[in-house]
């Protein structure tokens, strides 16, 4: 049974080789995956084109549910974007070094899910060609966006988060890009030469790099929390029952971390399997991620329970009616499915045997995300279709066009991710080396014994075996 986070006897050259190998020679399976993603994107493009020319009515959106699954999927993707950068930054600050082999692809996941999420508010607009009106640009007519609207805050928050998380991903990658540059030929050589910004690994460069990286991490933690709080204020700032909830910001952040962690587990297993990253993406690290997911799942469950309790014991009759409607009404199958996948399913993560069983974890992590998608849909649609005005109560099943675009968004995310893993190292080489180095100091106690020291004491500047 593998118990160590990483094999500390691993050689530097082997780390380089293993990671650089993943960038080369895409196999048939890769091209098949690319093909599937492109086909999925084609579905979405056809769907959006149809909506663009015909009108939003083809989505079978209706009075009064005017948002439906698209906005639900938007929150889903925003949520998925949270784990990568936020966890990477938090774990970096608390010196949890097991983050090192897995943070790179998690941050890439953040950036790409934001790029997916950002598309939904654009395409859902009735007149998407007027999107730029949401941006405050100076014009002679003196017309500005409405700064009181949470949708405008959304635009700012998401754009800021996208910029900074892409920057965070890139900055963390610079030393690795230099390694790639030194080992590449052809167009890759040119690309990495430009992207590695002349990195030579001098002391001064490392010092500045560390400072910048730490600063970015500190900046990103509050930013990531605020982004999903702002997305939650799309709902919490409104007057509608089931939306007008004070616990929404933490609830959204917890849900975001939850779905993000589940997605990390999924991608972890895929990368580990296809790129033979068993040495780096080890079972103990998977276990740690699973434990983290379990904790977040319980926090999410708790916040859910709080929401139910405050509604149930609260004075608002309409809120109560809506809650009962969610449990027993037309949306109840999805609502119960959400509770099952979101609150019951994660208990599989509590058992060590299951946590260490990769196929189980793969399936579970997918279902956790199904649950989180349902959660977002259950936030948007029931409130809209069953709210104050009983005359307007109506439930219409979303049309095939809506589903096609939701489906296609996964292809778009997948394609971006597939391109990423073949162009950029999806495991951080320099940080894995750091991790190995520190583990070696902690574990290899031959030197320590010889010097009658504890292994945690500062070491003499002796050459480490294998370094």
């Amino acid at each position: 049974m593998q118990t160590k986070d990483i094999n500390e006897q691993i050689k530097w050259a082997q780390i380089n080789n293993d990671v650089l190998r993943s960038l080369e020679n895409p196999r048939m399976a890769y091209w098949v995956a690319v093909g599937i993603c492109v086909a999925m994107i084609a579905c979405a493009v056809i769907g959006v084109g149809y909506v663009y020319t015909t009108g939003q009515g083809t989505l079978d959106l209706y009075w009064p549910d005017m948002w439906g699954t698209w906005i639900g999927t938007f929150i889903f993707w925003i949520g998925m974007s949270h784990s990568g950068t936020l966890l990477s930054a938090i774990l970096h600050i608390v010196h949890a070094d097991w983050r090192k082999p897995i943070y790179r692809f998690a941050e890439a996941m953040t950036t790409f899910s934001l790029m997916t999420a950002g598309l939904f508010p654009i395409i859902h607009l009735g007149r998407m060609w007027n999107l730029y009106w949401v941006i405050p640009y100076a014009s002679d007519r003196g017309i500005w966006p409405n700064f009181r609207s949470p949708l405008v805050w959304d635009a700012f928050a998401i754009f800021t988060y996208l910029t900074s998380s892409a920057l965070f991903l890139y900055i963390g990658m610079v030393p690795d890009l230099a390694i790639c540059r030194d080992n590449a030929r052809g167009w890759r050589k040119k690309l990495y030469t430009v992207l590695s910004l002349g990195w030579a690994g001098t002391d001064r460069q490392w010092r500045n790099f560390r400072k910048t990286y730490l600063l970015m991490a500190c900046f990103l933690i509050p930013l990531a929390v605020s982004v999903h709080s702002i997305v939650s204020s799309d709902f919490a700032m409104s007057i509608m029952p089931g939306w007008h909830v004070t616990t929404f910001p933490p609830y959204f952040v917890a849900g975001a971390l939850y779905s993000g962690c589940a997605a990390i587990i999924t991608l972890f297993i895929i990368l580990r399997y296809f790129f033979r990253f068993e040495e780096y993406m080890t079972i103990p690290i998977l276990e740690k991620t699973c434990k983290l997911t379990f904790v977040i799942a319980m926090a999410w469950t708790y916040l859910n329970a709080i929401e139910f309790a405050t509604v149930w014991y609260g004075p608002d009759q309409v809120d109560k009616e809506l809650l009962i409607n969610k449990f027993t009404g037309p949306y109840s199958p999805y609502f119960w499915a959400m509770l099952f996948f979101g609150s019951v399913m994660p208990f599989t993560l509590a058992f060590e045997k299951l946590r260490r069983h990769i196929p189980t974890m793969f399936v579970v992590s997918l279902f956790l995300n199904v649950g989180m998608w349902l959660e977002r849909w259950m936030i948007v649609s029931p409130t809209l279709s069953l709210s104050y005005e009983p005359f307007a109560w109506k439930v219409v099943w979303p049309s095939i066009v809506q589903w096609a675009v939701v489906f296609g968004s996964f292809g778009w995310f997948g394609l971006l991710f597939l391109v990423f893993v073949k162009v950029f190292p999806s495991v951080s080489m320099y940080e894995v080396k750091e991790m190995v180095y520190h583990r070696r100091r902690a574990v290899v106690d031959d030197n320590a014994k010889a010097l009658h020291r504890r292994s945690s004491d500062p070491q003499p500047a002796a050459e480490m075996p294998g370094a």
Partner: protein
Amino acid sequence: MSFKNILEDWARYRRTREDGGFHVYEHKWGMAIDLNKCIGCNACSVACYAENNLAVVGPERFAKNQVMHWMRIERYWDEPQLAQAVPASQYQENGGSFLPMLCQQCMAATCEPVCPVAATYHTPDGLNAQVYNRCVGSRYCSNNCPYRLRYFNWFSYYESSWPAPLHMQLNPDLTVRDKGVMEKCTFCVQRIRRAKDKAKMDNRKLGDFEFQTACQQTCPTTAIVFGDLMDPETQVSKLWAAHQVELGKAEQDKENPDLRGYRVFEALNTDPKIMYMERVREV
């Protein structure tokens, strides 16, 4: 485009929008609807379709609730407590209750602050205006309207809704909206405008009942009374006063609980400008 203009406009923007909307109103157009008089004939709804160029969407889209009725008659069969007392087969015999619902032109409208591009705002007339040209169709306003009184143009209706020669009956005083735009009852703003302009040209004050909204004009039982709530002499103001309903309150403290006037979802503090007078029923 000069920098000076922008700065000046910015200053103006800051001055006028500090806490949203206007503070000095010229009018506060409001309504009083007597549900005792309402017979649920839907004539007001038809008049609204004719006056405001509302699109007729067809049966399939109607079944999907993609409708555009700015003025709708809500029919409720009975109060729930009465419905429990009699078997379901019988309670329709008591007759339905009708509630004509149109945009309540709230003074603290929930739709206004959420629009990302400020396409809906409060006018000095106290109206909740919708600027079609500015609307980008995010539909947040409709989602945040507790009355569900905002309707979206799901399709381009101008090609299909008024086949020739029906397009000849379109009202030239206002636009036909294209797809992707939100719309709702305007209190027949084109009529308000015309009457105001006329009064201004004659250099006199706008009188009560000088003009009517389309629904009011058509109502066979005169259940709808429309007028200026700023002017205490108008009939609508008198009705509001008689029923002890006041603007700006989330809860009316009535001396006489038998007075029938109420506003829909008043407790949400949206401050709607339509007062309904409850139907009195024999039980």
